[in-house]
Each structure stands twice: as structure tokens, then as C-alpha cells.
């Protein structure tokens, strides 16, 4: 139980710290951080999935589900409460996840990755084609309100979205931490290591995978809704394979040693991307690719390992879990 409390306390402190930071930070960085956290939440979902040995290359399908759910609710129903929209995005993504899970829970490794990618491509095809979904150009969202509060200036809007995103972030982070430290979290690692034994111990690997998949979908949906709100624009690229690839990159970059690492990683990537496209407008993609390669090569266990080392903590279970395979 103490673990619960400590984690929740830490989460609360982080939240307060972020809310305060958001006030002193330059607005552009608040925006970067908002997007980074939103994408980080999606990557966190992938980390959950990776802990049971599965990597989805199609998180875009849930990311766009969340985004379009939020966007269409504003557009068609006129509901614009940020909190509600975020929850809705997550919920719909979760439902979709629960529908798909049985189809994919039987697959593993590269096959799983490829099938998820295929599904997200289908989603992309639909969004691109269906005109009442905005078609290839997508559509814009006006600024949301927040449980009755209607921010006046764009700075207030972006700050409010930042606060909402930070809240979602710390909650997701704390819950995942608790999950990782729980029996269930341990079981995921077990399923990753040795499926036969898990079955022989009386648990179902399919069930474990399915659950983690659903959680990942939920988080992707929330991240999608938040991204849509902070960008004020939605288009089929939300489901494109490069988007999904970016999430996988975030997850691999952060590793699953530490939940914090996911969000630090996504802030770094966000900055690298935007600075590289500013300083090498002609070769920013190559620069990004190179960065990607180097990270994968020299940080095989992700940023998380660094964090843990810095903490002077002995090699933790998760880190070994990664090198295990």
C-alpha cells in the first residue's frame, strides 16, 4: 500500500511543479511540452504493451480515433469541454482496442507489429477518403473550454491545455507505475519471458496481451485527443505510419525502466525535431533519422537506464527485462 501512497504523492508533487513551471516557461515551450506529453502518453501505452513482449506499429489508429472523436464532438455536437473530449477520445479508443484485441492477441513480435501497422493504414485510407471526416485536408477545432472556464487569450488556452495534459500525464504515469509494480505488471514481464510457463501456472497469455493492448489503446486515444486540442487541427496524418513509427521510437528511446523517461524522451525528441528542421531545413529528416539510429545504437536500454543509473539504483528488474530478450 505504501507504494501506492508514495507514487501518488510523487505524482501530485510533479503535477503541482508542472503547473507552476507552465506559468514561468515561455509560451512556445509550453506548447512543445504539451505536445510532447500528449505523445508521451501514447508512448507510455506502447511501453505497457512492450512489457508483455508486443510492439504495435499502428498506434496511429487509436491516436487518430481519440483525435477525431474529440474533433467531431466539437464539430458535430458543439460540445467543447476539454476534459470531456479527452475522456471521450480515450473511451472510444479503448472500445476500438477491445474490439481489435481478440484479433491480434494471438500474434507476437514482428507479425503483431505488421498487422497493427496494416490496421492503421486502413484507418488512414478511410479518413483520407471520407469527406464528412474532413477528407485529406482534415479540419480545425476552435479552442476548448474547461469545465465552464473559457480562456480569453491564446496564451491562457495553451496554458489550460498544458495543465489538462499534465494532469492526464501524471495520472497515467502514476497508474502505470502502480501497474508495473503490481503482480499484474510482473505477470506481463513473465508472459514476455516464457509464455508456456505462464500458461502452466494457470494464467492466460492471450488475456494478458489483450489487457495490455486495451490499456495502450486507451492511452493512445487520450494522447490523440489532447494533441488535437493543442494543435487545433486534425487530419489523416494522425493515422499515418510515420506517426505510429514516432511513437515506437519514443517507447524504444525511453525504454521501460522508468515511466518518467518516456516523457523526458518525448520532450527531447520534440525539440530535436523542431530545432533540426530550423537549422537544417534541407536535411532535417536525415538528421532525425541519424539521431534515431545513434540512440538505438548507443542507448540499447533507453533513457530510462540512464535515469536509473543516475539514481545509483542497482540494475532494476525492468532494465534486465529489456536486455533479457
Amino acid at each position: 500500500m505504501a507504494g501506492w501512497l508514495r507514487t501518488s504523492a510523487a505524482a501530485l508533487v510533479c503535477f503541482v511543479a508542472l503547473v507552476l513551471l507552465g506559468r514561468v516557461l515561455p509560451n512556445w515551450f509550453v506548447l512543445v511540452a504539451t505536445l510532447a506529453f500528449a505523445k508521451g502518453i501514447v508512448a507510455l501505452g506502447l511501453v505497457v504493451l512492450m512489457r508483455c513482449g508486443l510492439v504495435s506499429f499502428g498506434q496511429g489508429i487509436f491516436f487518430c480515433t481519440g483525435a477525431y472523436a474529440a474533433g467531431l464532438t466539437i464539430r458535430l455536437l458543439g460540445l467543447d469541454d476539454g476534459v470531456l473530449l479527452t475522456a471521450l477520445g480515450g473511451l472510444l479508443a479503448l472500445i476500438l482496442g477491445l474490439i481489435i484485441a481478440p484479433l491480434l492477441a494471438g500474434y507476437r513480435g514482428i507479425f503483431f507489429a505488421t498487422l497493427t501497422l496494416a490496421l492503421s493504414m486502413i484507418a488512414y485510407g478511410i479518413l483520407d477518403k471520407v469527406s464528412w471526416l474532413g477528407g485529406s485536408d482534415g479540419f480545425n477545432l476552435h479552442a476548448p473550454s474547461f469545465v465552464g472556464y473559457h480562456p480569453a487569450t491564446p496564451q491562457d488556452v495553451s496554458y489550460a491545455i498544458f495543465v489538462l495534459t499534465s494532469l492526464a500525464t501524471v495520472v497515467a504515469a502514476a497508474l502505470c507505475r502502480i501497474h508495473f509494480d503490481s503482480l499484474r505488471g510482473l505477470l506481463s514481464l513473465a508472459a514476455r519471458d516464457n509464455e508456456i510457463r505462464v500458461e502452466y501456472l494457470g494464467a492466460s497469455v492471450r488475456w494478458v496481451s489483450g489487457m495490455n493492448f486495451a490499456v495502450a489503446a486507451l492511452l493512445a486515444g487520450i494522447g490523440g485527443a489532447l494533441s488535437a486540442l493543442s494543435l487545433g487541427h486534425i487530419d489523416p496524418d494522425f493515422a499515418f505510419w510515420t506517426t505510429s513509427g514516432e511513437f515506437v521510437f519514443l517507447a524504444i528511446l525511453s525504454g521501460y525502466a522508468s515511466v518518467t523517461a518516456v516523457f523526458v524522451a518525448s520532450i527531447i525528441v520534440e525539440l530535436v525535431r523542431s530545432y533540426s528542421s530550423q537549422y537544417f531545413p534541407n536535411t532535417w529528416q536525415g538528421a532525425l533519422g541519424l539521431f534515431l539510429l545513434l540512440v538505438i545504437l548507443f542507448l540499447p536500454q533507453g533513457l530510462g537506464s540512464l535515469l536509473l543509473v543516475r539514481r545509483g539504483k542497482p540494475k532494476s528488474q525492468e532494465v534486465r527485462a529489456e536486455s533479457g530478450k
Binding site: G109, I110, A113, M121, F249, L292
Partner: protein
């Protein structure tokens, strides 16, 4: 009647192109378990190299016109030999000990890098290799005028398919490759030099991608961005055919090609979506693709 014929011919031509670009992807997947996102960039490299080579060949009247086709073939070979081993030994190898999904990510990074690399080498201006396209004249079938070159491509695709099949099933090396496709560990334990097979298969995959690019170059304007459409289409074909299955790739290419041409002739507004539709159907009915080679959780 004419309509049916047109649908069939156009579908066939489309399918031949699809097959050439997709079969390399599926082969690499089968052997190395890598979903190579850079496949499209390799296709582009083939197209650029061929375009430059053809431009040089006809520009300077180096030799008889028909030899231009061999120049294109050579271009594809050059790309394969220059890139294949380098990429496999120099880079991918470093990640084999890691989770196979990391490898997908690596190829994604490669895709990004290659895109800009081609831009640095060839710039953004278009390249053309149109001479070989008209060389074979044109034929009139069912009241429609076709460029003979397109049927030559069908022949090339058939040839590729047949040679690949024979190579895999009738030669020692091919059998070894099939063995590795079937079970990497066991073959390794049985003394197969898996590394050699990897280099071989990957290089051949690169060659097929480059070949697709080289022989498409005469029909198109070679410029940045041509790789994207290719990777998506060939990926769809591979998924439909079943990951890692050469036969599957062939059948899937035919299905997709015919589906597309039928859609364009009968219901043009569906063209954009038809491929995804086929893919959705296949995934719904057989998630592992038509020619399944995937292994579900072993329990």
C-alpha cells in the same frame, strides 16, 4: 468484352509492377524478419541510378538503343551491390541481437536518411529515362493502344517470379534460404551459415527494389517523394499475400492489380480506397494473409 479485356490487361500491367516491388520486401521479411521501411527508398535509388545511367547512355550515343535495357539492369545491380551488403553487414547486423521490432525502427531511420541522401545526390529536379519506353513501339489490342514496353514489364515480372521460384526451390542456396525462412535457429544449428544467407537475401531484396525502380523510371518523372507510394503499396501487397511468402506476393499483386483496374474502369471514385478495402477483407478473414507463414503464439 473489350471492357473485360481492358480491365484484365491494365490489371496485369499494374500487377507486374506491384509484384516486382513487393516480392523483394516479402523475401527480406521472410529471411531476416525485417519489415524494411527503406524498401521504397531503395526503389527510388534504383530509379535515380537508372535515369542517370540511361541519360548518360543515350545522351552520348554510347551504343545501340536496345542495350539501354541492360544499362537499366546494370543500374539496379550496381545499387544492390553497393547498398545491400553495406546496409546488412554495416548496419542491420548490429541489431540482430535486439528485439526484431527495433530493426523495423532502424529501417525507418534509414528511410529518413536515404530520402535526404538521394536529395543531396540528385537534387530535387526531375530526371527522365524516357528513351527505353518508346523503343519497343506500341501495340493495339481490343481497340486500345498500349505501349509495348508495358508488356515487356509483365514479361520481366514473370521472369523474376519464375527465376526466383527456381532459385529458391531448385538450387542448394535457395533450399538453404528456404530452410532459414522456415526456421532460423534450427538451420543455424544444422551448420547453415545464416549470416551469409542474410547478406545474400537482403542484397537480393535490394536488387528487386532497385529493379522495380529502374524499369519504372522510363514511365515516370524521377523526383523526390516517389518512394512513399511504393512502400505503402508493396506493404499492402505483402500483408495481403502473407508475410514472407513469395507465392503470396505474386497472387496478392495480381489481386490488387485487377481490383484496382476494375475499380478505375467501373467505379473510379473507389480507386483510392480499393487497396485498403482488399487488405481489410483479407485481414478480417485471414489475419495472417492468404499464404500464411506467420506463427501464432505457441500454446
Amino acid at each position: 468484352m473489350n471492357l473485360a479485356a481492358a480491365i484484365f490487361l491494365d490489371g496485369l500491367i499494374d500487377a507486374s509492377w506491384l509484384f516486382i516491388v513487393a516480392v523483394g520486401l516479402t523475401l527480406v521479411f521472410g529471411v531476416l524478419n525485417i519489415l524494411n521501411f527503406a524498401h521504397g527508398s531503395l526503389y527510388a535509388l534504383g530509379a535515380y541510378t537508372a535515369a542517370s545511367a540511361v541519360g548518360w547512355y543515350y545522351g552520348g550515343n554510347i551504343g545501340p538503343a536496345f542495350l539501354g535495357y541492360f544499362v537499366m539492369l546494370a543500374a539496379a545491380l550496381v545499387v544492390a551491390i553497393a547498398i545491400g551488403p553495406l546496409m546488412e553487414r554495416g548496419l542491420l547486423r548490429l541489431f540482430y541481437r535486439r528485439d526484431e521490432v527495433v530493426l523495423v525502427l532502424v529501417t525507418y531511420a534509414l528511410f529518413l536518411i536515404l530520402e535526404d541522401a538521394t536529395k543531396l545526390i540528385w537534387g530535387v529536379n526531375p530526371y527522365y529515362a524516357y528513351e527505353p519506353y518508346g523503343l519497343l513501339g506500341d501495340v493495339s489490342l481490343f481497340g486500345l493502344n498500349y505501349v509495348a514496353y508495358d508488356f515487356a514489364l509483365v514479361g520481366l515480372a514473370l521472369l523474376t517470379g519464375v527465376l526466383l521460384w527456381l532459385g529458391l526451390n531448385r538450387t542448394i542456396t535457395g533450399k538453404v534460404i528456404l530452410a532459414v525462412i522456415h526456421d532460423r535457429e534450427i538451420s543455424g544449428a544444422m551448420g547453415v551459415d545464416v549470416n551469409r544467407v542474410f547478406v545474400l537475401a537482403f542484397t537480393f531484396g535490394v536488387f528487386l527494389a532497385a529493379l522495380g525502380g529502374a524499369f519504372t523510371a522510363p514511365k515516370i518523372s524521377v523526383q523526390p517523394g516517389i518512394s512513399i507510394a511504393v512502400i505503402l503499396l508493396s506493404f499492402a501487397v505483402v500483408v495481403i499475400g502473407g508475410l514472407g511468402s513469395v507465392e503470396g506476393a505474386a497472387i496478392a499483386a495480381l489481386i490488387v492489380g485487377l481490383a484496382r483496374s476494375a475499380a478505375i474502369h467501373l467505379m473510379p471514385s473507389a480507386e483510392l480506397f480499393i487497396v485498403y478495402l482488399v487488405m481489410a477483407l483479407v485481414l478480417a478473414l485471414r489475419p495472417e494473409g492468404l499464404f500464411q507463414r506467420t506463427t501464432a503464439r505457441k500454446i
